[in-house]
Symmetry: D2
Subunit: 296 residues, 4 copies
């Protein structure tokens, strides 16, 4: 089928290539003139047959919201927008409402797979009305692995990004579990071969996983991780998962602990621990470590 694709960066560009290989026609737009097939969104809309299907693959937040607003003016009733970026599921509902007022349909799709996706296929998690999802199914089929796996229609609008968010929250917890195990083995005077231990776990054990494979690869490159600082960003989904858990009164201690460990990793000095040190000094006369001028 024919698809308009907005956003031809690393992810969008690879997806366009895979879709074309699978026989779909893609009309691409990007801010960068070098990447795009058409020069304006209006031209993209003109080039597509009615009802149009347009996939958004631009950064979450304002860029996505702005594009949705522009499309609301350009598209016609019956057209379909698929938001494939990393939107928050609450924003999906707002976007869908804006478009629905004009008769435009909306589906959200969480996409995973990164740089391997073009060749191996992407994991696609979709939210939206059944008929809208069915309309776009040939696109999803082309993007997901040839095995037929890696696809779910998880629920109504927002469900695709919701489950992608939860996926990332789980990922945070799994990574932190391996990380704590690594640190404990490295800190002990017991284990001589930490890297070899992880490698041995790749077969026959309960913890075997893709993340373990990646950890073994990282330790092959740098067995004591000397070249890497213990500094980890977070990309938003972990925060949203914790906030959704709090909203739904779901205890999520592991995912939250993993998120907080990332927050702490980015602090040069911890204001909270200044308080603890100050209190110990007050009641016990415990010496405090003086702050150097530039670390406060």
């Amino acid at each position: 089928m024919q698809l308009g694709l907005i956003g031809l960066g690393k992810m969008g560009g690879n997806m366009a290539a895979r879709l074309r290989e699978k026989g779909h026609e893609v009309v691409g737009y990007d801010r960068s003139p070098d990447l795009r097939d058409v020069d304006t969104l209006a031209e993209l809309v003109e080039r597509l047959p009615v009802p149009r299907t347009v996939w958004l693959m631009v950064p979450a937040g304002k860029p996505t919201t702005d594009t949705i607003e522009e499309l609301a003016e350009l598209l016609a009733p019956g057209d379909l927008v698929i938001e494939g970026g990393n939107s928050h599921y609450v924003d999906d509902r707002r976007h869908a409402g804006q478009l629905s007022a004009k008769g435009i349909r909306y589906v959200d799709a969480g996409v995973s797979g990164g740089v391997w996706g073009r060749q191996n296929g992407y994991g696609i998690m979709v939210g939206g009305a059944a008929e809208d999802v069915a309309h776009a199914k040939p696109i999803f089929d082309a993007l997901t692995p040839d095995s037929g796996g890696g696809y779910v229609h998880a629920g109504g609008v927002g469900a695709g990004h919701f489950v992608k968010m939860v996926h990332n929250g789980i990922e945070y917890g799994m990574m932190q579990a391996f990380a704590e195990g690594y640190e404990l083995m490295a800190a002990s005077d017991v284990v001589d071969d930490v890297a070899g231990t992880f490698d041995s776990w790749r077969e026959g054990t309960v913890v075997r996983s893709w993340l373990l494979d990646l950890l073994v690869r990282a330790l092959e490159e740098d067995p004591e991780l000397e070249g890497i600082r213990g500094y980890a960003q977070d990309s938003g989904e972990g925060r949203w998962t914790v906030q959704a858990a709090v909203d739904h009164a779901v205890p999520a201690p592991v995912i939250t602990a993993a998120l907080f460990a990332r927050f702490a990793s980015r602090q040069d000095d911890s204001p909270a621990m200044k308080v603890v040190a100050a209190l110990r000094n007050q009641f016990g006369g415990h010496a405090v470590t003086k702050s150097t001028g530039d670390s406060a």
Copy 2:
């Protein structure tokens, strides 16, 4: 080679079978007359060529300690004991010391793989002196997968059980991460197909893993887990991991949170939360929920 194997339960029996299939001679002893080849440990020791190799596969704690003490009387200098049960690594060191006083050698081996091990091979994590480990290498080779993986000599005595312990701690954290993700999806009004979502993650995603495969299988059998209570035992290694982390001043918030979640799952009522409820009642006049007579 020839091996004495003490403990022919589910694990030990399967291991004996695999070893025999691989051409080793196993003399087995068990408390149960139906399972054993010899009727006493003394007879087992008599039947083995010098220097003897004896593998223990009995429950951790007193059964293992008692057997070690009995073997200390029966074995001769140069003989080798391999402790393959779930001993705490600190106990390994004590056991090794006891045997070393008599010139008997000691190796500890963490074994994973459960009921699949007989066919697929076991993961084996070994601790001990290099020459002692080398002596038993043919046994380890027979037990591990035919691929050559699943084996590590992790360090000195105790290292095998230490890394097995850490493996299980990581496993706790991973399981809890999936569990929290499940609960959040189930609690939301957003996700219609939780089981299908997990299934879709088996390809192309960051969280793909054997535990995910097992979760999908469990959800196929019982999509809302209605037949299972949220009640989880712990087998000791999780506790030891947390205590080792505390001993080594290693922050392990994820593994610990997973352990505490299991503790809480086994409580009919939480004494701690009684205190919280009582305090809220004291300062705010918040109503307390009366305990029924039998739940305290």
Copy 3:
């Protein structure tokens, strides 16, 4: 000075009484005809001298928002609204913006002290512009303790409710710390006199505090808390504190753990722990505890 007070429930009614005792004139409105001095907000507005000062003491969320909207129509430029309920600080900013568009001033006030406040004075935490806060200072002086303490102008609009929210988050952590200590002492076979131990801590120790006093009182009434279920509600501020911490990338493991413990206390069965039990069953053949029909 003269003050309009909207909401004459337990808190508002006591505050009105204290203000009158201190010589202020209070015109009160409440939904309940039995409690109110005037029958409509319009009448309340008419009765106040210009510029008017109106204190809101109604439930957070829709009731507060609705009242703000009604006041926006009734009040005149230069009038001052003090929101003394438990609003979220983000809502304060929205409310202030709505009123500001009509020239109406806005101050938020977090109020603590519960039923003891009428006699002992309330803790008042205020957010708003300096001149607006100064205008209402006689009211704050009358409400706070006679000692002169218990008052802070914490920052601009929203700051009063923000620090009240943080106060409650800290309170969650402190309560849970006592609760865990209680449970550990009660679970051990070591401590014969748990209640007496808490009582002894009221003098000379680091943990002496009002919450400890309350806990001792609760244990005097019911030494093993047999009459209270371990079931704790949360009133919103704890959730907001965690969400604000996540928004600001502040690690808040203690406050969050206290909140999650409350969530868990309200579950008959834990969906997350069903997953853990199901996984243990899958990989280890560990028996699961069957759910009874009504607990799922």
Copy 4:
């Protein structure tokens, strides 16, 4: 009564002074010749009337164990040893067993109060047999506050140190709760007067406590804690509390989180977070922050 006191450091010296002021006769021994009344433990034992009462106030661990062993040789059946240091409660039981074999009695006493204790009295938490505790009661009465509070006989041998340990665990949780609240207020763009906010909480609020008083004092001296690094030691009792919680299957997420925050505060770089950063780099191509040569 007459008391032998071993260990005349800051704590022991002040206690001796308070006991003498209250009319007791103290024979003191210390490693330092300048502080002691007698030059050997043998001389101390000789100087005391039978049955002798000897209070130990030496560092926990080997110094205490060595002194116990020496006293086991010097004392006679019916004599009483009071261990007032910071022993682990499990060690108390071992010590009591060693002495009991010689007919010597044993009581453990957790002591709190620090430098204020000499003047205000100490909090004393006692474990031991009723008749042994009764024998030493005049000493406890002299050490505790004149009000009659601050004393508990918590249970059998070990109970005194057990409840002192739990007291310190609770203290960890409370301090961390205040610390997180501080950091959140400081991190927000909402609160202009953090120190003033804490000060205002000293009256009328739920969080009022001695720790809050100390925090206000610390903030008066250094309003943004610029001179203090966020680096906090732990003294052992927090670790023991967590390990006891794990032993007793008691969920203790708050106390544990507070302990782990201290561990993390002492790390220049986090090995665990190196793993998280390495994994993000592996699967997402996320840039890692290079470690500088000396921080690994």
